[in-house]
């Protein structure tokens, strides 16, 4: 904990001034905040002043030398001064870190009057010193504190007034202090991630300490905006899940920051990037009775045991990724996944892919809602004596609005799909015989309803083996 103290007699002895004696009845300390600006632009040295002690000043100073004070060097002769510096309030004993904790200056005096003004200086060049703090002797000792700010190696000395080497002052030994860098580092997140998943953003702060609030900033245009906030653990580690940009397909530049305790400044990490990408991430599960609560009815030819629920990502009309599901016959999952994967790679857009349960299995409703779906045990719209091919889990309807269906009576469904009866010009979400989805499904033996003549069912794919 102790800091090296070396004694050097700088100048001849000098008695305390009468003025300082006059106000020495109590401990009066003025901490001069010189040097609070950055090292590049040091503040002018304020004139040392003497004021009545305040609570704050008292909190930062002590009339009694610290119990942790280390070496004490006796003066060789009357009128000598010593200086030792310890770190206080920092996370690591014996170490000084940029913008964390304080310098605790203490020293003893010999043959100096109680109340003598003591000035603490920091060397700023080979021949110049900058006043850092002012205090007064209380008995034969003095103390003062000063927040640590800049990092680097610094030499301090205390005097009875005036910079060391300036003339009549009595100077203490010089104390060299190294202030280490405080920093935040960000681990490299996963380079690419499914757009619908959240990357884990982690990193470390130095010196390690818990409870530090760390912000994860994301760069938008030319500025960073805070997207997530987390706190460090006792080892200085932090980790959080970043949801920013979820669903988008883009590369994001991020950084970690935290506000330093000693001044209005933010510690900033170097930046990292990650990219949200489009992947189908298909998951096949056994269809449950809940999955087909509104679409499987008593007597239907295919029940949940012969169906699979394929949950997958798709590229939306809003140009963002979404997750949806299709329920298909168990032997068709591979063909369906591969077809929609190919379609996704070519950025075919799909409005939505919800479980038809959402629409109570009501096909006109889900067509109006532009829902892409597959299994739905129901009658053909317009013929109660005919089960739809969707009852077998072998048919898929895609973007009903952009790909309307003309029923046997010539009525187009859904009503809001009428603008798409005319197939030119091409608009997002429309299927053509050249669409990747159409081509791929056809290659697996699906029939596309857009090829049916004279009726048209642009939304419809039906497996025919």
């Amino acid at each position: 904990m102790g800091v090296l103290v070396s004694l050097r007699r700088f100048s001849r002895c000098r008695a305390a001034t009468s003025s300082s004696l006059a106000i020495a009845a109590s401990l009066i300390v003025v901490i001069m905040m010189a040097g609070q600006a950055s090292a590049e632009t040091p503040s002018p040295i304020p004139e040392p002043t003497t004021t009545a002690p305040s609570d704050a000043a008292t909190a930062n100073t002590s009339a009694t030398p610290s119990a942790e004070s280390t070496t004490r060097i006796a003066a060789e002769a009357a009128g000598s001064l010593s200086l030792s510096i310890e770190s206080t309030g920092g996370p690591v004993a014996g170490h000084f870190f940029q913008d964390i904790g304080s310098y605790a200056f203490t020293g003893d005096a010999t043959d100096l009057d109680d109340g003598t003004t003591i000035e603490i200086y920091r060397r700023t060049s080979a021949s110049s010193w900058t006043l850092q703090a002012t205090t007064q002797l209380s008995g034969e000792s003095y103390s003062a504190t000063l927040p640590v700010r800049e990092r680097g190696t610094f030499v301090f000395a205390s005097t009875t007034g005036g910079a060391p080497g300036g003339g009549d002052e009595i100077s203490s030994n010089e104390v060299m202090i190294t202030v280490e860098d405080s920093k935040i580092t960000l681990d490299q997140p996963v380079a690419e991630i499914d757009s619908l998943k959240n990357p884990t953003i982690s990193g470390t702060i130095v010196p390690a300490r818990s409870g530090v609030e760390v912000h994860i900033d994301v760069k938008r245009s030319d500025t960073y905006q805070t997207a997530e906030t987390t706190t460090t653990d006792s080892s200085g580690r932090f980790s959080t899940s970043l949801s920013y940009g979820k669903g988008s397909l883009a590369t994001y530049r991020i950084r970690g920051t935290y506000k330093v305790p000693n001044r209005d400044r933010w510690e900033v990490s170097s930046s990292k990037t990650f990219t949200r990408i489009a992947v189908i991430n298909a998951v096949i599960t056994q269809t449950t009775s809940a999955d087909v609560e509104k679409t499987y009815h008593a007597g239907c030819p295919v029940g949940p045991s012969k169906l699979r629920t394929v949950t997958m990502n798709f590229y939306g009309l809003d140009k963002k990724m979404h997750r949806g599901l299709l329920i298909v016959r168990s032997d068709l999952t591979t063909q369906v996944i591969r077809s929609f994967d190919t379609s996704l790679r070519h950025r075919f857009r799909i409005a939505k892919m919800k479980n038809p349960n959402v629409y109570d299995g009501n096909d006109p409703r889900q067509m109006e809602a532009n829902n892409t779906s597959a299994f739905n045990c129901r009658q053909v719209v317009g013929n109660p004596y005919k089960l739809s091919p969707h009852s077998y889990g072998t048919s898929i309807d895609v973007n009903p609005v952009q790909n309307p269906y003309r029923d046997i009576n010539g009525k187009w469904w859904p009503e809001n799909g009428k603008p798409y009866i005319d197939r030119t010009p091409y608009r997002a979400g429309m299927l053509t015989k050249d669409s990747y989805l159409t081509q791929k499904l056809r290659s697996y033996g699906f029939f596309w309803g857009g090829l049916w003549s004279p009726g048209k069912d642009y939304q419809h794919f039906e497996y025919r083996g």
């Binding site: 449950t288 009775s289 009815h297 008593a298 007597g299 013929n383 109660p384 091919p389 029923d407 004279p454």
Partner: protein, 251 residues
């Protein structure tokens, strides 16, 4: 008890007691109209929460199911077995409609208002109302099926379907089973709600689907069952009109 077993028992019965015997013998194995008497819900590997209507939608374990219907290979025949266009009545106020067919309905038009259907699919599609369990084990497939289409002056659609069975017993059994299926939908809203009209000789029921309303008139005549279902937005087809159609069916 399968339908084949039931049928074997019934063949030895007198014709006079046929109807009651059919009902009595079939009752233990026929699906009850109540949705609460079906088998236990199937438990799948990933199902943690049973569906609220799991009992009603319990999946039958029969393997006697049909694959998806094959695509049409050309225009559908205009006759089926002994069934022709004259086998279907034309309801008063309705005209025959010549349809081109569609992928969804699975047939290609033949230039007439009637077309043959695969009788297996026709019987299944008609009886699968979705309100009570029924499987293909519960009935014998008809031998032939012919569908006709109508439209009225408003452009609304009507469909007629004749199912011809090998014998009257099979037709009787199917028709009773069908009546029970229609009956089972009278207390439901999904997938269809039905209301059966009393005081008519055959089966007349109002149907309310989530997106359309229909009135059905059906009757068995020997080994044929004729079903007519007409778009009826206000359920305005009168009992008298329905009876006239039933009379047409009876010939």
């Amino acid at each position: 008890m399968t339908y084949a077993t039931i049928r074997a028992r019934l063949l030895g019965s007198s014709l006079a007691g046929l109807s009651s015997l059919v009902l009595a013998a079939c009752s233990p194995s026929l699906p009850a109209p109540s949705p609460g008497t079906t088998s236990a819900p199937q438990v799948s590997a990933t199902s943690a929460v049973p569906s609220p209507n799991a009992a009603a939608t319990a999946e039958p374990t029969t393997t006697n199911t049909l694959p998806p219907p094959p695509p049409p290979s050309g225009p559908a025949p205009a006759t089926a077995g002994s069934l022709t266009a004259t086998s279907l009545p034309i309801p008063a106020g309705w005209e025959t409609a010549v349809l081109a067919g569609s992928d969804e309905e699975g047939f290609e038009g033949n230039g007439t208002w009637v077309h043959a259907r695969d009788p297996r699919y026709a019987a299944q599609d008609v009886i699968t109302l979705g309100c009570a369990t029924v499987t293909r084990d519960d009935y014998t497939d008809p031998a032939a099926a012919l569908e006709g289409n109508y439209h009225n002056r408003s452009g609304d659609r009507g469909i007629g379907l004749v199912l011809e069975f090998d014998d009257e017993l099979a037709a009787t059994h199917y028709f009773e089973l069908y009546r029970r299926q229609v009956q089972s939908c009278t207390t439901r809203n999904e997938p269809v709600r039905t209301a059966i009209l009393s005081g008519v000789s055959g089966l007349v029921d109002r149907r309310t689907y989530p997106y359309s309303k229909w009135t059905e008139i059906a009757e068995r005549n020997g080994r044929r069952i004729t079903l007519i279902i007409l778009t009826d937005p206000g359920h305005a087809i009168s009992k008298a009109s329905a009876q006239r159609i039933l009379d047409q069916i009876k010939g």
